[in-house]
């Protein structure tokens, strides 16, 4: 008569994890639990998509950027760094990067403070706060294209709000979007309009994470509203502010649709961003090599921003 089978099983189960698994037994057990099959089934779709449409294209962009190529046939006209030299010597590209920088500055010094200010006024759960929160987020859910077209109308000198105001005052309405400098300023206004709701939502989430009891005890100790904000709430929200600035940086480097709809880069190519420059001078004219060089420059900028952010973030985490 065989010994009690359940007992043997129990012992085996207990011993199994202790036994040092050989490769074959590891494979066998992973086969039995289905983990190997799962890995082989579940991972390839993601790897395939990602490699084919993300990683390879980035690699190809750096390869193409050394050619003079219109995209047809195989690239064969190797031109060394000529595309890069042309990009950096192009005054329009420099203007575009300056515009990107302006967007970042306006974001940091106008948009983010505005969003923070408003967020602190409506972070509670009163009905008015909930309604205003919903309103302020509306521009953000619209497509950039839509935002650009709406403001193209508003800034139109013949129609639009500016035109109406000026006629009320008896002035001749300026064509805001047709003048260099003013067109870029208009773009900055639209960026603030479109994106401040996003930053506000980040800040409201951040404000709600500030522990209530700290604020309560400060209030009991007689701290004023301003002091609570200044010495408790704002310092605790620092990480969210850093995050929000980081989003501004990345957002600026991607700015495209808004510009195409608002000014199309004009007048005189004065209101381009890096991406709309890439589109107008690389893609539209099928200059694959040149456009790829711009893409690579953009890529390097993004990586730098990312590293910069990581360093700051690490320092923030350490100082806690």
């Amino acid at each position: 008569m065989p010994p009690n089978p359940t007992l043997i099983e129990k012992v085996a189960v207990q011993k199994a994890p202790l036994r040092k698994a050989s490769l074959t037994s590891a494979l066998r057990s992973s086969y039995r639990s289905g983990s190997l099959a799962t890995v082989l089934l579940f991972l390839p779709p993601a790897l395939l998509f990602f490699t084919l449409f993300v990683i390879l294209p980035v690699g190809e962009a750096s390869f193409f950027s050394f050619f003079n190529w219109n995209g047809y046939g195989a690239p064969h006209k190797w031109v060394d760094f000529e595309n890069y030299i042309r990009v950096f010597n192009d005054p329009v590209f420099r203007v575009s990067l300056t515009n990107n920088l302006l967007v970042i500055l306006v974001s940091a010094f106008v948009q983010v403070p505005l969003a923070l200010w408003v967020a602190l006024l409506i972070a509670d759960q009163t009905r008015s706060s909930v309604v205003f929160r919903a309103i302020f987020f509306v521009p953000y859910i619209l497509a950039d294209i839509v935002a650009g077209l709406i403001w193209r109308y508003l800034f139109d000198g013949d129609y639009g709000i500016i035109g109406t105001f000026c006629r009320w005052l008896g002035l001749e309405a300026p064509e805001v979007l047709a003048q260099t400098g003013w067109a870029t300023a208009a773009l900055l206004v639209v960026v603030v309009w479109k994106y401040f709701g996003f930053h506000m939502a980040l800040f409201i989430a951040g404000r709600q994470n500030v522990p209530m009891d700290v604020i309560e005890s400060a209030r009991i100790d007689g701290a004023t509203r301003w002091n609570i904000t200044r010495f408790i709430v704002l310092p605790l929200m620092r990480p969210v502010v850093v995050l929000s600035l980081f989003f501004s940086l990345l957002g600026s480097l991607q700015l495209f649709d808004l510009i195409i709809a608002l000014t199309d880069g004009g007048p005189l190519n004065s209101s381009h961003s890096a991406v709309s420059y890439l589109y107008t001078f690389g893609i539209k004219r099928m200059r694959v090599g040149f456009g790829s060089a711009v893409g690579v420059v953009l890529f390097i900028l993004c990586v730098l921003v990312m590293l910069f952010y990581k360093r700051i973030f690490m320092r923030e985490a350490e100082s806690k």
């Binding site: 987020f137 950039d144 129609y159 495209f256 195409i260 893409g295 890529f299």
Partner: protein, 273 residues
Amino acid sequence: MKPLFNYYRWLVLVVVAGFCLIPLWATIIGGFKTNGDLRTNALGLPRQWIPDNYLSIVTTARFWQMLWNSTVIATFTVILTLLVSSLAAYTLAHIRFAGRKWIANYLTLGLTFPFATAVLPVFIRVRDLGLLDTYWGVILPQVAFNLSFSIVLLRSFFAELPRELFEAAIMDGCSYPRIFWKITLPLSRPILATVAVLALVGSWNNYLLPLVTINDDAVYPWPLGIMQFQGQYSTDWGKVLAFVSLTMVPAITLYLLAQKQIIAGLTSGAVKG
């Protein structure tokens, strides 16, 4: 609350709300005005309500065709993004295998750069696959560029699900694919909703990718259609404003229906830090 602070709070909020809403108001009523009316009366109600601009748009097949195109592209993008990224995230969260860390790091490389950096090679890839002027030429690259962030979000959520559940399921002889389907996915609805919102809004509003991969206006998603329309009627602002207003309807409807999920989804970067 002190009354003085209350006045100040309301003043600020009302001014900012005006800044947000007046442009939208001017756009929507602008669609009901004649061009002469628009010229002299940008903010007020129309002197005479003219529904023609709106009617002439909603009665054309082209308008509905491009909304349909965008809907198809967005639907497939959301489904494929959810499917592909949750499969990968599940594997990376729950199964130990050689090279797991390496693959996880590889799949998050996409967080570093935006689509624009690779747009030309993507165009060439789509062309060589014969997918120009098709829905797939937009859907596939969109899914690929959604993966990194979706996998990061899903994987950290999956990893925080209670371990005991999995151990118990495995003891009962439940296979990994079954666990995925019966336990992980049903427990992960909130994060799946977040990923879906991000993919949906990103696809619905995408302009650059279809701009390069679609030329045939029968396949135009609405952002391309609206720019084409604007090019055609550039001086006829009444028509353009009506068109813009109509394209805002789906976005605002969805926002009113699922405001909480949408705000949480679009700001999910904050949660992850």
